[in-house]
């Protein structure tokens, strides 16, 4: 039971970070129709910038700077990915984000090399809660993530700029007709999504080192989280991230007990994500057909 709880704690934490990536994908997909492949790259950039900055300046400032810089990069990515009016289709935009992800990966390789990066957590020891050892960093990730998701939801509901994003998601045509520039909204959606993804890995890097090519794994997991709500719901993407994180930890934790898998259990983390995604999607597809 203790072991189980231990795994759940780790799962909730990594799942929260996946959730932020997934929420960003939902935000971009709903407002622009684009599936953003570079979402994993934003997370990697967040983690790597944090590692680069944290030695020289206060952790809080470093984290904030990393998130803001990545958000800015995200807005540039959005600007390019949206392309030209009447000319760039969502499919073309997806391929463009794929290209951008490749570009960021190769630049990261050049700047940071091909070894994993991490930075030390500010907490010096784990908390003992009823016999379950809990790393404070995990709690921090889960807490900040939840806060960010709540703030985002509130911002979308209560501010006029947020409502403009929702308007584009509701009906892009009607949004255009009232004069909202959907391309401008797309740039903001990309910036916010990039910032969220970066935030996840700014916080998670001490317990989950980041490599220049971690982006693919993160993008797939983020997409799986978003797929939980059919790429449509921020709340469900959040839940999807948590479910995915916990399920993966359980697979990793218990798989080495299955004879034959042994040490390779970690390799199946992603397989777990895919299987969960396929099952959920299959279930959704069936529901859609029956509607």
């Amino acid at each position: 039971m203790k072991e189980f709880l231990q795994l759940v704690v780790v799962g909730v934490s990594t799942g929260s970070a996946y959730a932020l990536v997934g929420i960003g994908m939902v935000l971009i997909f709903r407002t622009t129709g684009i599936v953003n492949f570079a979402q994993g790259s934003f997370a990697v950039l967040g983690g790597l910038f944090m590692v680069a900055l944290v030695d020289d300046i206060h952790g809080l400032v470093a984290g904030l700077a990393a998130v803001l810089v990545v958000a800015f990069i995200g807005s540039l990515v959005g600007f390019v990915a949206v392309g030209f009016r009447h000319r760039t289709t969502p499919l073309a935009s997806l391929i463009i984000t794929l290209g951008i992800a490749l570009l960021i990966t190769s630049l990261n390789l050049l700047a940071f090399g091909d070894r994993p990066h991490t930075y030390p957590t500010i907490f010096d020891r784990a908390w003992d809660i009823g016999g379950v050892l809990v790393q404070p960093q995990y709690v921090l990730v889960a807490g900040v993530t939840l806060l960010a998701a709540l703030l985002l939801t509130l911002g979308l509901q209560r501010t006029i700029a947020g409502q403009a994003l929702v308007a584009c998601a509701d009906s892009r045509r009607a949004a255009e007709l009232v004069g909202i520039d959907v391309r401008a909204v797309a740039v903001v959606a990309f910036a916010v999504s990039a910032g969220l993804s970066a935030l996840g890995w700014v916080l998670l890097t001490p317990v989950d080192p980041v490599n220049y090519d971690s982006d693919v794994r993160i993008a797939i997991n983020g997409f799986a989280a978003a797929a939980f709500g059919g790429l449509a719901s921020i709340r469900l993407a959040y839940v999807g991230g948590l479910v995915l994180g916990v399920a993966q930890q359980l697979v990793v934790g218990y798989a080495d007990k299955i004879p034959g898998l042994g040490q390779q259990a970690r390799q199946y983390e992603l397989a777990a994500a895919l299987v969960i995604m396929l099952v959920l999607i299959g279930w959704r597809a069936r529901n859609e057909v029956h509607e």
Binding site: H86, G179, D181, A184
Partner: protein, 271 residues
């Protein structure tokens, strides 16, 4: 004041790929006027609006507002120039409350390429916009009652009011309404028509009514254009058109077209 008409469309051509949806249409509309554009389904009415409002880039021709050439400009610019479209099928923002729908009408007007400065301009004009919102609420008191409700959870007629109210928030001088009557009960259509006539006469907002329902459109407007297969086939005062044999047989006579498209919305034949 310049002598130029409020809206002037000159030889507008709209293509979707190879298909020509609108083949050189010219029309004009004076400030404060009510004009109808009628024609069967697929005649190119919506294509014309899309071309004028900047949703599609016209292949040829010009669109002038107050003599200013706005051909192929972004939708936001058209809105700022004074022309707002109420789209077919209403297209409110269903998950947002009615009031947010209305306010976005004012917000969209502030857009010039990016969001931050638009938001700042919007906040700067918040006072004026609040006054404007009050004005819309007093014109359509029903909307004030519904202000908190998500627009998707209101009736069809109420949604049409939200769409019109949202358009009015952009302070238009010309309101282009695409299929006002589509899918609405006759009583609701009558209420909305009366409201629009009042709006036109009291506030001086010009109306371009784009309708399949020719009976309704000719009744409301003094002047009308008839569009068929992407070309204008007739134009003139409504009472003349009502007497015209072609129009009578095609749109009014048996009321076949109208009745097929919109059972229940047909007012009695004018004869």
């Amino acid at each position: 004041m310049s002598a130029a008409p409020l809206l002037e469309i000159d030889g507008l051509v709209v293509k979707y790929g190879q298909a020509i949806a609108l083949d050189g249409v010219s029309l004009s509309l004076e400030a404060g006027e009510r004009v109808a554009l009628i024609g069967p389904n697929g005649a190119g009415k919506t294509s014309l609006l899309n071309g004028v409002c900047g949703l599609v880039k016209p292949a040829a021709g010009r669109v002038l507002l107050d003599g200013r050439d706005l051909t192929g400009r972004a939708p936001g610019e058209i809105v700022r120039a004074g022309l707002t479209q109420v789209p077919e099928g209403r297209q409110v923002f269903p998950t947002l409350p009615v009031e947010a729908n209305l306010l976005l009408g004012a917000y969209g007007r502030e857009f010039r390429h990016e969001l931050v400065s638009a938001t700042l301009r919007y906040i700067g004009r918040r006072g004026e916009i609040a006054v404007r919102l009050e004005r819309v609420y007093s014109l359509m008191p029903k909307l004030r009652e519904l202000r908190e409700r998500p627009a998707g959870r209101t009736s069809g007629g109420e949604q049409q009011m939200v769409a019109i109210g949202r358009a009015l928030m952009a302070e238009p001088r010309l309101l282009a309404i695409d299929e006002l009557s589509l899918g609405l009960a006759p009583l609701v259509v009558q209420d909305l028509s009366e409201f629009l006539v009042g709006l036109n006469e009291e506030e001086g907002v010009a109306l371009l009514l784009v309708e399949q329902n020719a009976v309704l459109a000719l009744e409301l407007c003094a002047r009308a254009y008839v569009l068929e297969a992407g070309r204008l086939v007739l134009a003139g005062p409504s009472d003349e058109l009502e007497r015209n044999e072609t129009v009578r047989s095609a749109y009014l006579g048996g009321g076949l077209e109208v009745a097929d498209a919109e059972p229940g919305t047909q007012a009695g034949p004018s004869s």
